[in-house]
């Protein structure tokens, strides 16, 4: 099934019903053959159970006591979760609420900035022709191949010269751009935006920025949502750089929670109660991001 290479601005695919024709024929909700049956849900159920297990395990241990970790897994929760969670929140070494707030807004800013810069750059690399485009893209992808473990050293030198250590800005600034994000949006937009749409918009007299706004931003929504989610989670769980550059009075959540382990004998029921607490905001974000995974976002945009 190859695609016509018609030079007209007609529909991409010959024989594919246009929107109007489809409406005439009576809209059907069947997408790809039969409605998903038992096997689909069986597979989904298995995937779900195995994916959610660590959360469940953490909850079980987190609702036990200091010995629960080393005993055979009880499979049912103990009764201590609320107590353990409270001791996490009220632990004086763990600045819980400031740390939570710091994590929330720094991760949010980072994710937003990454999505914005990546979508802009991705649009250019995917759909615009300009001198040096391919070379720059290769350069961007190549930078991902340099391991990050040593990056803390020069970054710390830079930020201590600037006098920004101890401030949340030192967490946010280095993370504002992501080569991964640019590459992801580039490949996604390459695939998700038919060139014809852009041509149509241009012929209609739209400027580049309007084309970007109307075509690119709309098409990018599912990918942008996923990128936002991934970046947010990555920033949220990041430990080493915040540990080095922030001070204990102004930490992010992973750094703060790590202090629960500062003892010769570690009570893991409390540590894992902290893990559950730190995961809840992420699960809330899941719901918002997941709703953006909408199929056919560009359907009907290709006009006859």
């Amino acid at each position: 099934m190859s695609v016509g290479t018609s030079a007209s601005l007609a529909t991409v695919e010959e024989g594919i019903p246009t929107a109007r024709e489809r409406r005439k024929a009576g809209r059907t909700t069947r997408i790809r053959g039969s409605r998903p049956g038992f096997w689909v849900y069986a597979i989904l159920g298995t995937v779900f159970l195995s994916a959610v297990f660590p959360l469940y395990w953490s909850f079980i241990i987190g609702s036990g006591d200091s010995t629960t970790l080393r005993k055979p897994f009880p499979w049912v929760p103990g009764g201590n979760f609320i107590d353990n969670a409270l001791s996490v929140i009220t632990n004086p070494a763990v600045n819980f609420w400031p740390a939570l707030w710091n994590s929330i807004y720094s991760s949010f800013l980072i994710a937003a900035a990454v999505v914005i810069t990546s979508t802009l750059a991705g649009w250019a690399f995917a759909k615009l022709r300009f001198l040096g485009g391919p070379a720059l893209l290769v350069f961007v992808v190549a930078t991902m191949a340099v391991p990050q473990q040593l990056g803390v050293v020069p970054l710390y030198i830079l930020f201590s010269e600037l006098g920004w250590t101890g401030q949340i800005g030192a967490i946010i600034i280095p993370a504002l751009t992501s080569a991964f994000g640019v590459f992801w949006m580039t490949q996604y937009l390459r695939q998700a935006v038919p060139d014809e749409l852009i041509e149509a918009a241009r012929v209609d007299g739209a400027s580049m920025i309007r084309t970007f706004w109307t075509v690119g931003v709309t098409a990018a929504r599912p990918a942008a949502a996923m990128l936002f989610l991934f970046t947010f989670v990555g920033a949220w769980n990041n430990f080493f750089w915040p540990f080095i550059v922030l001070d204990r009075q102004n930490p992010t959540l992973p750094v703060a929670l790590s202090l629960l382990q500062s003892n010769y004998f570690v009570d893991y029921s409390i540590v894992l109660a902290g893990v559950i607490l730190a995961t809840i905001p992420l699960l809330l974000l899941f719901i918002f991001a997941g709703k953006q995974l909408v199929s056919g976002i560009m359907a009907g945009a290709v006009k006859g």
């Binding site: 937003a112 803390v152 710390y156 401030q167 800005g169 946010i172 709309t218 080095i244 204990r248």
Partner: protein, 427 residues
Amino acid sequence: MKSRALRRIGIIAGAATTTAIVLAGCTGGGTPTPTSSGDGDTNFEGVELTIATFNDFGYTDELLAEFTEETGITVVHNKAATSNDARANFFQKLGKTGLADVEGVEVDWFTEMMKYSDLVAPVPDDLKGRWLDWKEQAATDANGNLVAYGTDIGPQAICYRGDLFEAAGLPSDRAEVAELFPTWDAFFDVADEYVATTGKPFIDSANSVLQGLVNQLETAYEQPDGTIVATENPDIRAAYDTVVDRAIPIASYPGQWSDDWYASMAGGEFAAMLCPPWMHGIIAGEAPDVTGWDVADAFPEGGGNWGGSYLVVPANGANVEAAQLLADWLTSPETQIKAFNNAGTFPSQPEAQSSADLTGFVNDYFNGAPTGEIGINRANAITVATYKGEKYFQFHDALQNAITRVFDGLEDKETSWNTWVTEVSAF
């Protein structure tokens, strides 16, 4: 679409504003400089110091509040979760900005710090002699400067399971058990007997024995003048042989702190451990339901030290003198006793040993053993301070790996030794 666009713009504007606010955020209030009153005493009223520790040094907020009351200096206590995190943080920032005014340094990475002893402020001469001489000697650099304030030590004794000993036909009374372990040979003989009788391992790990043996040598891998003698030192070879030949057959695991090791602690698999005071809390925490633990006031060849920390004052700090005051106060015998009561960190100051808090300390979990007194006796039995050069832990870790390879059956005794020799010759 328009509203979405507007929303996006709103988000961007909000983000930009927030970022600007965050970045423009004021730094913490400047620390007031100390004022000097006429009679030559410096008044540090209003100064704020930070102290950075890890694990648990026993410095509670109440303890630090006492210091504030006495001197007017407020103390902010930064903690790192583990010694490793603290180490990464310390060396990242040493000589630059960002270290606390007083930093805790563990003995494991203390030797690495000694390379940069010029970057920490020396301890005033009048404090010399406050600590046990081997503790002080390890903190003295090539120029004779004492550069760190000792905090705690880990004088080892033998923790044992009285009930398991009894079941194997061995004495279970503390004093009697103490007589069983005058030398390493005697220790291993008892162990062999136990294993033969019960078929179960005697101690928890082979590498704990390696640690015990090497810490009783005067020269281990390097000499004070810098020459590396690791592979030629007959003592090291002898220690390796001893561990492979005699410790591996009686041990549960090659090394400690693995998941299996923790599980066996909880299940009460082995009968004895070489234990310094800080191990007591770990045993009690991991095996709260086991009742037979006790401590014998003995150690093969007398004594050995395992662990311990120091406090150092970075020389480029903003308030070096005030920091030295804090370090002095925290490592004074009286304060160390208080820390001991808080966290079980055994004092390294001889004067503290006469404190009733220490001599009368009794540990209920360990069958009421007088662990304070035992610690004092074992600390005084330590005669040798192993010289540890800056690469000590690299050599030692590699040797532990060699033991582990033999334990796991990956290489035999000679091959593993040769692998170690090849490995360390690259250092």
